[in-house]
Amino acid sequence: MGYRDVAKVGLGGPVGSGKTALVKRLVPELVAEGYEVGVIANDIMTQEDADVFRESFADLLPADLVEGVETGACPHTGIREDPSMNLAAIDEFTERHPELDVVLVESGGDNLAATFNPELADYFLFVISVAEGEDIPRKRGPGVTQADLLVVNKTDLAPHVDADLEVIEADAGDVRGEDPFVFTNCKDGSGVEEVLAHVEREVLFA
């Protein structure tokens, strides 16, 4: 058993876009569906962060299926040019838990150019927040255009930051063509079910 024997879902996106919040929403849903799940978080800065992360899944996942991977202040390198340390962590997961179904790999916060190495992620979600500006999809960053699923999070903040969801929707449709995108508010969980449906259909049932 090794990293090639388990489904891997990557979650990338800028700092503060809601990647961790989405992981926290997805894990209970996946566990409830009966999947064995592992979680890797890149670039947890402090031990306090690591403790919070493990505590949030304490009742859902074995402690040894939650891992932090440091990427030497190079979050994009860790998921793109050289994913070796993430793959090593997944190998350790599969050695200890051969029954594992899926690993969520959350990247460190990065810029709009960050994409996942296809050997690290079978399916790649790029998470942006409306609070970063309504023009983010229009900029056509590789993360926005190449992700298997674009997640536009924090829709509840749109009226407070002068972001027009209709503009974001139109631009996302233009730049992604047939590729899907989903609006979410991870604070109350809206849209998460749709994200889960994409992940199940494209990765776990594939």
Binding site: M45, Q47, V69, E70, T71, G72, A73, C74, D82, S84
Partner: protein, 245 residues
């Protein structure tokens, strides 16, 4: 001396941070030196790396690499396993061992696996002949029969690809230094010209330590860098960390 283009390009490949073995995640205690404000400028950095070269890279990792290279040349797997075991024993901080063995495993996967796929699996590494050496090493690392430290795997790969023993040692030492300088630049406030000045100043040290230790036997392998080891151990419980070691 005539240049072997293939060996030369392999040396560049092995010494390049582009090689995907996770080198950019290792600081070998440097992050902790910076966390504790023990490095203020380029002079401090040069002094520290000079000490790393003279007390760890030279007498420990270069000796391991050179002896692994020789073991490969002689098809002596027992000697290679002894080198790996001793390097594991003399590398004190847990995170240093983990950074080295994880990188070693990835180098194995990248550059020994192709030969391994062509060969038959070897049940007992001691039974391997010279031709099956890379196969046996990759198999032993994969099965956890030996730690598979980076300098040890590096020595085997370098021998396979036609580098001389000294070239292999120089390439490894150079990539160690550039890896740590890159880490320093990402963690601290060092200018790119300052970093290049430090690298230029350390070049003669790299040459000196490799030439000094390239012929040392296994029994000479040792490391004496207590402060670096303490920094490495403190890093395990550091309040802030971006690097694996």
């Amino acid at each position: 001396m005539e240049t072997d283009p293939d060996a030369f390009l392999t040396a560049l490949r092995l010494g390049d941070s582009f090689l995907p073995v996770g080198g950019y995640t290792a600081s070998y205690g440097l992050e902790q030196y910076l966390n504790e404000d023990r490095i203020d400028d380029g002079d401090d950095l040069r002094t520290l790396l000079d000490a790393y070269l003279r007390r760890v890279v030279g007498p420990c990792e270069t000796v391991a690499l050179a002896n692994a290279y020789e073991a490969r040349q002689n098809g002596d797997l027992g000697r290679l396993l002894a080198v790996d075991e001793r390097l594991h024993a003399v590398t004190m901080p847990r995170e240093f061992r983990e950074s080295s063995t994880k990188a070693g495993a990835k180098l194995c996967e990248l550059l020994l696996a192709d030969e391994r796929e062509e060969g038959e699996p070897v049940d007992d590494p001691a039974d391997a002949d010279c031709d099956g050496f890379a196969t046996a090493v990759a198999d032993a690392v994969d099965r956890g029969a030996t730690p598979g430290h980076y300098p040890v795997v590096f020595g085997v790969v370098a021998g396979d690809r036609g580098l001389s023993r000294l070239e292999a040692c120089l390439t490894h030492a150079y990539s160690f230094v550039t890896g740590l300088l890159g880490a320093a630049q990402r963690l601290g406030r060092f200018g790119h010209t300052e970093i290049q000045t430090v690298l230029a100043e350390l070049q003669s040290v790299i040459e000196a330590v490799c030439e000094r230790h390239v012929d040392d036997g296994i029994a000479a392998m040792t490391s004496f860098a207590p402060m670096a080891e303490i920094m490495g151990m403190r890093h395990e419980r550091a309040g802030r960390r971006l690097f694996m070691s």
